[in-house]
Amino acid sequence: MTSPLGKRPGRTVAEGVTVLVAAVVAFPLYWMVLTALKPSAEVISAEPRPWTFAPTLDSFTRALTVQSFGRYFLNSVVIALIVVALSLLISFLAATALTRFRFRSRTTLLIMLLVVQMVPVEALTVPLFFLMRSVGDTVPAFGLNHLGSLVLVHLAFGLPFAIWMLRGFVAAVPVELEEAATLDGASRFRFLWQVLFPLVAPGLVATSVLSFIHAWNDFLFAKTFIISAAENQTLPLALQVFVKPDQNDWGAIMAGSTLMTIPVLVFFLFVQRRLVSGLAGAVKG
């Protein structure tokens, strides 16, 4: 490949360094999977070894059978997918408005999108808690103790960054295309969904990854909003089951973490290439 800074001689050294860095970065993940596969005697050992000769799925079994892990997993998936779908739709429309149109208060809105990201989420849990309680009085499915409340907050917190990011992708689509489409008599609506939407696809993918991670990783809201309904808890909370007052069940914690990381990783790898081009596009706006 040719690169702007490409120079042959130092390449071997550079590649050596790259491999080394990759190993260091990946090591905690390796340790996670390894610990999950070790028999429990090796996990809590005064002489931890970076390998195991007796891999076992015991820890995974414990993680999966104790306290309906599957149910939590499903809850997390459902929440994340709904949030991704909704936020894509809403942020795509908003991003289009913010790049394709010029209107008063456009800059103000853009700045507001940045500002709301600065409010610490943890401080907002208190007002949100009471908001969700009132919402629950009218629509129980979106109230406290229900998955709907989590969908709502994740949607709200993921949106500013999603719009901010998608803006760049929409801006990158040449205006001429739009003009051509309009000349062909395409309605604004058709243009939006049949021309612009597919063109922005890489950006949508990149945005959806981040929305997904955002909803998937949440610990705070799940902990605060799901008060007593065990059946509505999510994965990060399930992990807490293994954090104990006596000795943490590290094997099960690591097995749970592995199970929790895999979907995101798969999602990432799946869209890796688009993510890279996507992030670059995002910032050109």
């Binding site: 309680r133 007593s228 065990a230 006596d246």
Partner: protein, 429 residues
């Protein structure tokens, strides 16, 4: 689109009008009293929870068999994060559980927050209720009303390793002042053992030192509390306890962050020669590296033969005030907190029962309980009975004080003065 702009303005306007003041919840009572459905129960997670879980499961099965159409869902709550869990539950009674276990030190605060229902009538009208130890029942009362059923009495004493003491030719301490030199000797001889496993966050292990020296947490006069933790005697107690959190006894790097559970855990792991543990820790120690190699004596006081006043702990079972199934909740309370299951909990966990007859019986048959019952009868103390205590506890005022001294960040006088100021601020409000 003008209407959109209008809608936004209207929505914002409505929000402003609706929210002139922050939200407050109304009275929590829901009124209804369903006889079927799901009963949600919160119990505390513990060191070696297995046996507790087994007993609870048995009770749940018995209860479900007796009440058709009723399921009982038990969740185990971490003691460390209980404050936020309970507060969330109080703030939304609809989502709260129906029955919950809670510590007697939290009682006043929880009642002030309107979290638990008055069950005075239910307890006095219950035939087993008459046998509850009056002193113990008092720990469940606020202004004469009963808000919980005492489930067990928690009192702490000194655990020590008989094998280590025999090997080094030591005898258990007879005064408070002997503990530190003794612990130092053990650690000098066996550097991989903690002399005594204590923790910077182990308030209930530390308070006996303060009480033994004649200090108090706070003093009450005319219904108003004033901090007394900065008195001369209290400071001596703080100094005596934090002397144990040194590199030659229990290194702060290892111990300063520990609470009661973690302190006992080190003893269980066979890494400590002594610890301060409760009756409720006994079964878990019996299933650990220290099994069969330990004994328990009352924590000694200032003079030989005296006993340091212990903290009179214990947990209650209460009915949450927002419950929609009060009758069921009370019935479950009477089952799990009744004589039969207290006996089972004693067998499973070593929890000291709250019924006079049951307690006397287990003491007669089990010499292990002797030091705990001795400690109890020597006079146990309690935290200040005021709703403000929950706040002081949640702000970790006393643990922070012990940790500041243990890490060397502050001396005893500075730390106790700061703690007293913080406590007075809470009492004042």
């Amino acid at each position: 689109m003008r209407f959109v702009r209008f809608a936004v303005v209207a929505a914002v306007g409505a929000a402003v009008v609706a929210g002139c003041a922050p939200v407050q919840s109304g009275p929590a009572s829901s009124g209804s009293d369903e006889k079927t459905g799901q009963l949600r129960v919160w119990l505390f997670d513990e060191v070696n929870r297995g046996p507790k879980e087994a007993v609870v499961k048995e009770a749940v099965e018995e209860f479900q068999a007796a009440h058709s159409g009723v399921t009982v869902d038990v969740q185990y709550v971490q003691v460390q994060t209980r404050a936020e869990r309970f507060k969330a539950a109080f703030s939304d009674p609809k989502s709260a559980p129906d029955v919950a276990e809670f510590g007697n030190t939290d009682l006043a605060g929880y009642v002030a927050a309107g979290g638990f229902a008055d069950i005075s009538g239910e307890v006095s009208g219950w035939d087993e209720g008459a046998d509850l130890l009056p002193a113990v029942l008092d720990t469940a009362k606020v202004d004469g009303k009963v808000y919980g059923l005492p489930w067990y009495v928690g009192v702490r004493a000194l655990y020590y390793r008989t094998d280590v003491f025999a090997e080094l030719g030591l005898t258990p301490p007879t005064t408070l002042a002997e503990i530190a030199p003794l612990a130092r000797r053990v650690r000098a001889a066996k550097p991989d053992l903690l002399g005594i496993s204590v923790g910077g966050k182990y308030t209930y292990g530390a308070m006996p030192f303060v009480w033994a020296k004649g200090g108090e947490i706070a003093e009450e006069e005319g219904g108003k509390h004033t901090a007394a933790i900065d008195s001369e005697q209290a400071r001596q107690g703080v100094a005596a306890y934090t002397e144990l959190l040194r590199d030659d006894i229990c290194p702060p790097a290892q111990c300063a962050g520990n609470g009661g559970d973690a302190s006992v855990e080190a003893f269980r792991a066979g890494k400590a020669a002594m610890t301060i543990g409760g009756d409720f820790n006994r079964k878990s120690v019996d299933e650990s590296a220290a099994a069969g190699k330990y004994a328990v004596v009352p924590l000694p006081g200032e003079t030989a033969g005296s006993i340091a006043p212990a903290f009179s702990g214990g947990n209650l079972l209460g009915v949450m005030s927002g419950t929609e199934r009060k009758t069921l909740a009370v019935e479950f309370l009477k089952l799990l907190g009744g004589k039969q299951y207290q006996q089972k909990m004693f067998t499973a966990m070593g929890n000291l029962p709250t019924f006079a007859d049951v307690q006397a019986e287990v003491a007669k048959n089990d010499p292990f309980e002797e030091p705990f019952i001795k400690t109890l009868s020597a006079g146990a103390r309690f935290v200040p009975v005021t709703a403000d205590w929950a706040e002081i506890d949640a702000q970790a005022v006393l643990p922070t004080m012990f940790q500041q001294v243990a890490t060397g960040a502050q001396d005893v006088n500075t730390a106790t003065t700061a703690a007293a100021e913080q406590m007075n601020a809470a009492f004042g409000s």
